[in-house]
């Protein structure tokens, strides 16, 4: 997976999100070691200070543990990972509902769309 | 740091002269045989001797021209051209940059003079006996070393010193002219030439006004002296004069490089 950035928000926030996705997808498995700041920064083509800030946020979110010097690992706490996954799922649903509401559809309509979509799939 | 600068200047100098110095000496050796050995009554012998002498003279002239061009180029390209970006960002003082270029240029010219003198000595007819006579002469000289010999020796050293100092003055005047030319935004080479002529004009006017003013100091030193003593005193006065000129040119060049540097 490539690193991509949009123009509207700080880069470190986007890095935190993309790192989170990688953890949730299992690309960095629970308890697994995260690459060093400098290596991640060079992979993403960003400044090490920016990557450092993104990783600090990941720690604050509880997804990463350890220190800068000893190296960071992904948390082994399944509950934290699950909570993060659920939070992302809710955010995705909320974004979807936002689009539907702009189109004039209500909650009932949304459920119908979801059921139809699941039926097709 | 100054030593390191010298190392790089001398290295590039030897690269430049590694061919021409040995070539001049080798041609002198060829001439030694063509001039002294060939039958000068035959046309072939005369032509060969003539051509080899011509080539020898040409290479001697080339040697001094190369020495001059080398000194100018090392300064202009090295300090005022693109290479200046490297040289002026090295952790050294501007006077060290100028000093290294100057020392290298003076030594180069001096060595060229030595090569020229050696080559003449190689050409003149000599035999093994001549060398023995020469050796005996030296033996006698060192065996009878006294005040007279010391004085004569000192006189030679003074001549040598005067030569070196006037080389330095000449190069420093060129450096100053190039530095002044560099102050202009356009036609820097042409302005350097103009600056060189202008410096000459200013200095000769200055000398014609200042030197008579120095008479009260200089005359008592020379007045009433004669022979050896007059020679020594006037040599030292000449050396001092050249040193003063050198110092003025050096200070001017250093000021421009330190305060007014503006590479393209």
């Amino acid at each position: 997976m490539d690193w991509t950035f949009t123009d509207d928000r700080p880069i470190w926030q986007q890095l935190t999100e993309q790192l989170t996705v990688r953890i949730l997808k299992g690309e960095y498995p629970p308890g697994g070691r995260l690459p060093a700041v400098r290596e991640l920064a060079s992979q993403a083509g960003v400044n090490p200070n920016t990557m450092q800030r993104a990783l600090a946020q990941l720690e604050a979110d509880g997804l990463a543990v350890g220190s800068r010097t000893a190296g960071r690992t992904v948390t082994e706490d399944a509950a934290v990972i699950e909570a993060a996954a659920k939070a992302r799922a809710r955010a995705a649903v909320a974004a979807c509902l936002e689009v539907l509401s702009q189109l004039g559809y209500g909650a009932e309509d949304a459920l119908v769309f979801v059921k139809e979509e699941l039926h097709h799939a | 740091m100054f030593g390191k600068l010298l190392k790089y200047d001398f290295r590039s100098m030897f690269k430049q002269f590694a061919f021409i110095w040995p070539a001049a000496l080798a041609l002198a050796l060829v001439n030694h045989f063509t001039v002294n050995g060939l039958d000068s009554t035959s046309t072939v012998g005369e032509t060969t001797a003539g051509v080899s002498m011509l080539v020898y003279v040409a290479i001697l002239m080339a040697m001094f021209i190369v020495a001059l061009v080398f000194a100018i180029q090392r300064f202009y390209k090295g300090l005022l051209g693109d290479e200046g970006y490297l040289m002026h960002t090295l952790p050294v003082e501007p006077w060290q940059l100028i000093g290294a270029k100057l020392l290298c240029a003076v030594v180069t010219t001096f060595l060229s003079v030595v090569v020229a003198i050696l080559s003449v000595l190689v050409i003149v007819p000599w035999s093994l006996e001549d060398l023995q006579v020469l050796f005996k002469g030296f033996q006698y000289l060192f065996g009878h070393w006294d005040l007279e010999v010391t004085r004569a020796f000192l006189g030679l050293l003074e001549l040598l010193l005067l030569m070196l100092v006037s080389f330095a003055t000449g190069f420093l005047q060129l450096y100053l002219a190039m530095s002044v030319g560099h102050l202009f935004n356009k036609n820097r080479v042409a302005m350097s030439v103009v600056a060189f002529i202008a410096i000459n004009a200013v200095m000769s006017t200055l000398l014609s006004t200042v030197v008579p003013g120095l008479d009260p100091i200089i005359w008592p030193l020379l007045n009433g002296q004669s022979g050896q003593s007059l020679y020594h005193r006037s040599m030292w006065l000449a050396i001092a004069g050249e040193l003063v000129l050198s110092a003025i040119y050096f200070a001017g060049t250093e000021f421009i490089l330190r305060k007014k540097l503006n590479l393209e």
Binding site: D8, R38 | D82, E83, N185, L261
Partner: protein, 241 residues
């Protein structure tokens, strides 16, 4: 060690009648990558040349690590000029010798490793190298030093986007993390994500100096987009003269 790495106070540079810098005040800390951003002719190169001692300011003062420009500041600055600066008869290894002689912080092993990874043969004569290869050699010389301040003047101008990524990658993986990198450029979109701070230079004056993050947060747009807005407006103003 002085707290601020670079302090410029009321820096002005005039060339004849033209003013290249007008009263620039700038402070740069340590351990960051700073973009010096402005269109051509805005004074970027002039500012960098003053910092590395190739130009003297007309007015104002510069301190690098608390000292005026001189042999000490030159010994802690690694400068990449916007042109080739070496004699053609040299080999890259000759330049490494020279740098190792004059700069204590030059790491020869690192330079050789960088050459290997950049595909440069350091024993080749510079004369026989292509323009792109010579630029790589110059980048190696500059980045193989563990300098306090890297001054990179337009390192990515005049090369294709793939080479830009490559050059930025080389800078990112090799710079001394306790040191500061100042990169001048007018190509901001390529460089924005590697910057901590951006300095906007407009007609010889600093109009903005902030972190990239807070610019994005405050403006809701990229530094590149903001730059285009500001300097497009300048063109209109320019038309009025």
């Amino acid at each position: 060690m002085h707290e601020q790495l670079v302090t410029c106070t009321a820096l002005t540079k005039r060339y004849g009648g033209k003013t290249a810098l007008k009263g620039v005040n700038l402070e740069l800390g340590r351990g960051r990558i700073v973009g010096l951003l402005g269109p051509n002719g805005s004074g970027k190169t002039t500012l960098i040349k003053i910092l590395c001692g190739l130009l003297q300011p007309t007015e104002g003062a510069v301190l690098v690590d608390g000292q005026g420009v001189g042999p000490y500041t030159k010994s802690i600055i690694s400068y990449l000029p916007d042109r080739m600066y070496f004699a053609d008869w040299m080999r890259a290894t000759d330049l490494f010798d020279l740098f190792a002689d004059f700069y204590q912080d030059f790491d020869r092993t690192k330079a050789m490793n960088m050459c290997a990874s950049l595909g440069v043969t350091p024993s080749d004569r510079l004369k026989s190298m292509s323009k792109g290869t010579k630029e790589k050699v110059q980048l190696v010389l500059v980045m193989a030093r563990k300098a306090q301040l890297y001054l990179l003047d337009e390192p990515i101008a005049g090369v294709d986007p793939a080479a830009r990524e490559f050059i930025l990658g080389t800078i990112l993986t090799n710079y001394n993390e306790e040191g500061t990198v100042l990169i001048s450029t007018h190509l901001i979109s390529d460089i924005e994500k590697v910057l901590d701070e951006a300095v906007f230079l407009k007609e010889g004056q600093i109009t903005l100096h902030d972190t990239v993050d807070s610019i994005r947060e405050r403006e809701g747009k990229s530094v590149d987009a903001l730059f285009r807005e500001i300097f497009r407006a300048q063109n209109y103003e320019g038309g009025a003269f």
